[in-house]
């Protein structure tokens, strides 16, 4: 997901790196393996390495995309840190992290535990499976399609306002995405809807590998549901929680499609995010150097955040081993 998808969409599967063992001895013919790395390496350098270098270089220039770039040093970065839109877009990223990481992870933990532990065990398994599918469905469709449908639902004459009218709350009718005050919370609500299925599905899968005897023993000891949730469920699925938090945070930092489909960053930048800000600067304002500076800063932030996450996980695992 959200998956994201990157944006959302079916999300990256939860995968943790296995520790790579060190070879006992260097085998003959190790060089032959390099041949297999060659096509991938060439493609990687051409499609990732060179363009990334290009963006870094362009971030130090003033360029409209035609003619030659003019080298201007760090002027783009100086300008960036004084640019109100830049700060707004990053402030909105924090809102996106709340909507795409914090809320879905917490709600997802609760929902997965309830679906697995209460619905799954006290009703038929099919009931839990059907409910899980309902929560997962938004993850399946292209996030732009979801954005367009929601954009229509939330229009002044859209379905949501009609619904409010029907249930007697007509006074609350509003141009949800068109008002700078409500646009960001509205986009956040849509993102929660998009993202929620990913943690639910991952956590339910995780719960399947928890030994049921743990729960039975706790129940015999008289632990109520919340005790069991806190002292068995949460610690047991910590690795999955970590993977969900990491992948969703990266997706939140990069979010583009939903913002493009719902609001194009408007009104008055109320929903602008770094990704859209960079896209707009590149292709609408034709300020390639400045857009490159935005992208570079965003890349750095993602590297730092991912590094921080992986360090935290590594530290957590080491502490677990020492205990």
């Amino acid at each position: 997901m959200a998956l994201t998808q990157t944006s959302a969409g079916p999300q990256r599967p939860a995968v943790r790196p296995e520790p790579v063992r060190t070879p006992r001895k260097r085998r003959d013919g190790g060089a032959a393996y390099w041949l297999y790395l060659l096509p991938g390496a060439i493609l990687f350098v051409l499609v990732i390495g060179v363009p990334l270098g290009g963006t870094l270089y362009l971030s130090l220039t003033k360029w409209s995309g035609v003619g030659d770039p003019t080298f201007i040093g760090f002027d783009n970065y100086t300008r960036l840190f004084q640019d109100e839109v830049f700060w707004t877009s990053f402030k909105n990223t924090i809102a996106m992290i709340v909507a795409m990481v914090v809320v879905p992870t917490l709600l997802g933990l609760l929902l997965a535990a309830v679906l697995f532990d209460v619905i799954g065990r006290r009703f038929k398994p099919r009931t839990a499976a059907a409910l899980r599918a309902a929560f997962y469905l938004p993850q399946v469709l292209p996030v732009v399609v979801a954005g367009i449908v929601w954009g229509w639902i939330l229009r002044p004459d859209g379905a949501f306002n009609s619904l409010l009218d029907v249930i007697g709350l007509g006074a609350l009718q509003h141009d949800w995405l068109g008002d700078p005050d409500t646009a960001l919370p509205t986009v956040m609500a849509v993102m929660i809807w998009v993202q929620i299925g990913y943690p639910v599905v991952v956590f339910m899968a995780a719960l399947q590998r928890v030994d049921p005897e743990l729960y039975e023993a706790a129940e015999v000891d008289g632990a109520n549901w919340f005790h069991r949730f806190r002292s068995i469920t949460l610690p047991q699925i910590r690795p999955e929680t970590f993977v969900v938090a990491l992948t969703c945070t990266i997706a939140a930092l990069k979010v583009f499609g939903p913002v493009f489909a719902l609001t194009r960053g408007g009104p008055e930048n109320a929903t602008n995010v770094p990704s859209y800000f960079a896209y707009y600067t590149f292709f609408k304002k034709l300020q390639v150097g400045y857009g490159s500076a935005i992208s570079t800063v965003l890349t750095l932030i993602i590297i730092v955040v991912a590094g921080l996450f992986i360090w935290l996980q590594y530290r957590g695992e080491r502490q677990d081993r020492e205990v």
Partner: protein, 292 residues
């Protein structure tokens, strides 16, 4: 889905064990079901309005039942957007990327996980980083280069780019899977005189085929749903993918509310079908990494 739920519930067993006691479980079920219904409401809205005529929509609003089964909105979208062509573009791009990216991932991972070439940890880290990087950090140079070498506005440009981006993730995943591949099997094959290529084809490939299948499906779906790079690279109606075509119609006068809904409905059908067909493989994929 709510319907299945009701039928599931009806033949209520009279089991008296401790799991099936208490009224609170019904409250929990009601709350979770309410949540699930809220999740499905947008789909209901979409279905309801995809089959309305514009006149019907403007006179009775978005919540009413359609007065007639109106399919012209669907047809308009289908022909105006040339949906079959968009579908083919999406299929061509996602299919090619899935196959090529799996192949590249396997080759990379063979060298890294089994060959254990020098500095593999750094190389795997680099690939992982590439997958997490925002696409904005690559897009302008790629756009510029594609224009210079004549690949701009071709499906090939998008295929090449996503083959690399997806295989960056595939390499990371497969390298860790192959890192735990039993050495004894490899050594036995080597004793029998099998070369590197034979080992890859006859020993490694058959063993990791399930993982490759999961990767193939994920690559396909991720690429199908991608937006930024296709939006920038594919400006022409004849090359666009489904999400880009739908988004570029937004705000177009052609797109009245029923046509918007019809378009969204048609656009999500392939994704939902694909999900239903491969649901098992997908959930296996999600759990695959979650097991110790």
């Amino acid at each position: 889905m709510a319907v299945t739920l009701v039928t599931d519930r009806v033949p209520r067993r009279k089991v008296r064990d401790r799991h099936h006691r208490g009224a609170s479980r019904w409250v929990v079920l009601a709350l979770v079901t309410l949540g699930a219904v809220i999740m499905l409401v947008p789909f209901v809205f979409m279905l309801l309005n995809a089959f309305k005529s514009p006149g019907d929509y403007s006179s009775s609003g978005p919540l009413s039942w359609p007065t007639e089964f109106y399919t012209k909105g669907l047809k308009t979208y289908w022909t105006e957007v040339n949906f079959p062509l968009k579908f083919w573009n999406s299929l061509l791009i996602s299919g090619s990327v899935a196959v090529l990216a799996v192949a590249v991932s396997l080759f990379n991972a063979y060298a890294l996980g089994i060959g254990r070439v020098k500095g593999r940890l750094w190389i795997v880290g680099l690939f992982l980083l590439a997958n997490m990087m925002p696409q904005e950090a690559l897009i302008y140079p790629l756009y510029y280069a594609a224009k210079e070498i004549g690949l701009y506005n071709t499906q090939l440009s998008v295929i090449i780019i996503f083959t690399v981006i997806q295989s960056a993730f595939g390499t990371y995943l497969l390298a860790s899977v192959l890192g735990t591949f039993p050495r004894s099997v490899l050594e036995a094959a080597a004793l029998d005189g099998a070369g590197k290529w034979t080992v890859l084809r006859r020993v490694v490939f058959p063993n990791v085929r399930p993982t490759l299948a999961v990767l193939l499906i994920f690559f396909f779906i991720w690429t199908w749903n991608e937006f930024l790079i296709p939006l920038v690279m594919l400006i022409d109606n004849s090359t666009q993918t489904i999400p880009v075509a739908l988004a570029s119609l937004q705000g177009d006068r052609l797109m009245d509310a029923p046509t918007t809904n019809a378009g969204a409905l048609i656009s999500l059908v392939p994704a939902v079908l694909f999900f239903i067909i491969f649901q098992r493989t997908l959930s296996r994929g999600i759990t695959a990494g979650a097991e110790k």
